[in-house]
Amino acid sequence: MAASSVEELLAKAEQEEAEKLKSITVQKELDLDFDLGNLLACDKNRIETRDFREQKKEDFLRSLARDNTQLLINEIWKLPTERVEEVIVAKLPEPTTRLPREKPPLKPRPPTKWEQFAKLKGIQKKKKTNLVWDETAKEWKRRWGYKRANDDTKEWLIEVPETADPNEDQFAKRVKAKKERVAKNEFNRLKNIARAQKVKTPGVGLVPKAQQSRNELAKAVSVAKVSTASVGRFQDDLPKEKPPKNSGKRRKFDPLIGDFSSEKQKQLDLLKTMGSKKPRLDITKAVNQQMREEDKEEAAAKRRKGGGKRGRKGNMTGKGKAGKAGGGGKAGKAGGGGKRRGKPGKK
């Protein structure tokens, strides 16, 4: 009896073990291909279409996915693990499958002007040392950049050459020359880029556009005019073409102490044109003046009713006086439209 119970127990234990293992063991005809670096598992087993049609499709697919994922996880567990902040982490190996390109491959760019010339002449690039011996500081300094050897800009003494103007600032001259070189370099670099990208750049001035504004057209006309062998001297003007105002880069202002009388004259002319532009008759003014006259007449009527005791003098305030004078003057000025009560106007 005991023997049979023991046997039964063992059998039970085995069964249980098998049950447990069943959940993590998967039987496959062909082994899967694993690429643990990409966490990839490729299943080459055939799928029985009969099986697929028999069961519910979702369930079939789900069980297939579960089995394959189980196998992948089993493989991951075989890797060396380490503990990082209370989490067990497996170290993945390098990926073995080659992934396709994300972006298209680079097109070879056209050579720059210098590269073309170097190829033509057969000039090779010479490898230069990083450090150069600086005599004055008696140490090795870098060839260019911060704290370079033989720094031109740090010189405290520049000899004035024989042929130069003694009043010329040699330091400023050096700085200016450097700026020009930098600008020229930048310009050439941009030209190289433009040539590589096949972007059209104009020789001077304007970029061709579909719609050009008034200013751009005017500039284009003036540039075209000057683009002749004799720099536009013998070019006829277009009808109604005005000479270009700001042909230089900088704005040109009048001299500080110019001709005072001409300046005064210009300002007076400006004032005259400004004055002439303002409409001589202001509708609202005329209406206000009308209202004022009506108010005055009403007030006069009231006073006459009230009796002769209150003389007109007493009631005249500053407002009234200015008003009368202003009213008379304004009526004189407002020639043409606007209501007037038969007052003679000065012409």
């Binding site: 202002f253 500080l256 005072f260 400004m274 003014k285 206000n288 200015a322 202003g326 009213g327």
Partner: protein, 180 residues
């Protein structure tokens, strides 16, 4: 320092004409000497030619002010009139506003003029017309913009604004640092 360009002169004259109308030509063309406008660091200065010739001896960064400053051009080329121009606006002003003694102090502190503080106002002042503000003793206090036309001023209630404050002589103390 440089003279004003056509556009700048136009903008400035338009602003001035709001306060003094056609009397600008009396500023431009004076019987007692040649006076001119010059621009220095965005500020417009009005000076006689004598002073101008003396001022040429100063370098740009050392020169602070020449003659009287009328105002300055803002970054968007609008012209802003300063209180320092009051001496030239006051005698030629076309539209004047007199302020009662009680409201003087308020105006000098930078507040607008209310109807209750209004003493007198020139007849036929338009709304939003540039006006020069005087005390009752005919002392120019500053300038501003009429918020209401004279007609409306008569009818409106005492607590409403009749003149918007733009500049007053109190600024000489308040904005000492920024006036040149």
């Amino acid at each position: 320092m440089r003279p004003l360009t056509e556009e700048e002169t136009k903008v400035m004259f338009e602003k001035l004409s709001k306060y003094i109308g056609e009397n600008i030509k009396l500023l431009v063309d004076r019987p007692d000497g040649t006076y001119c406008f010059r621009l220095h660091q965005d500020r417009v200065y009005y000076m006689s030619e004598k002073i101008l010739k003396l001022a040429t001896n100063f370098s740009r960064d050392k020169l602070i002010s020449v003659g009287t400053c009328f105002g300055k051009f803002t970054k968007t080329t609008k012209f802003r009139l300063h209180v320092t121009a009051l001496d030239f606006l006051a005698p030629y002003a076309k539209f004047k506003v007199w302020v009662k003694p009680g409201a003087e102090q308020s105006f000098l502190y930078g507040n607008h003029v209310l109807k209750s503080g209004l003493g007198r106002i020139t007849e036929n002042t338009m709304q939003y017309q540039g006006v020069v503000v005087y005390s009752m003793a005919d002392v120019p206090l500053g300038f501003g913009v009429a918020a209401k036309s004279t007609q409306e001023c008569r009818r409106v209630d005492p607590m409403s604004i009749v003149v918007f404050h733009q500049a007053d002589v109190g600024e000489f103390i308040r904005n000492e640092d920024t006036l040149t």
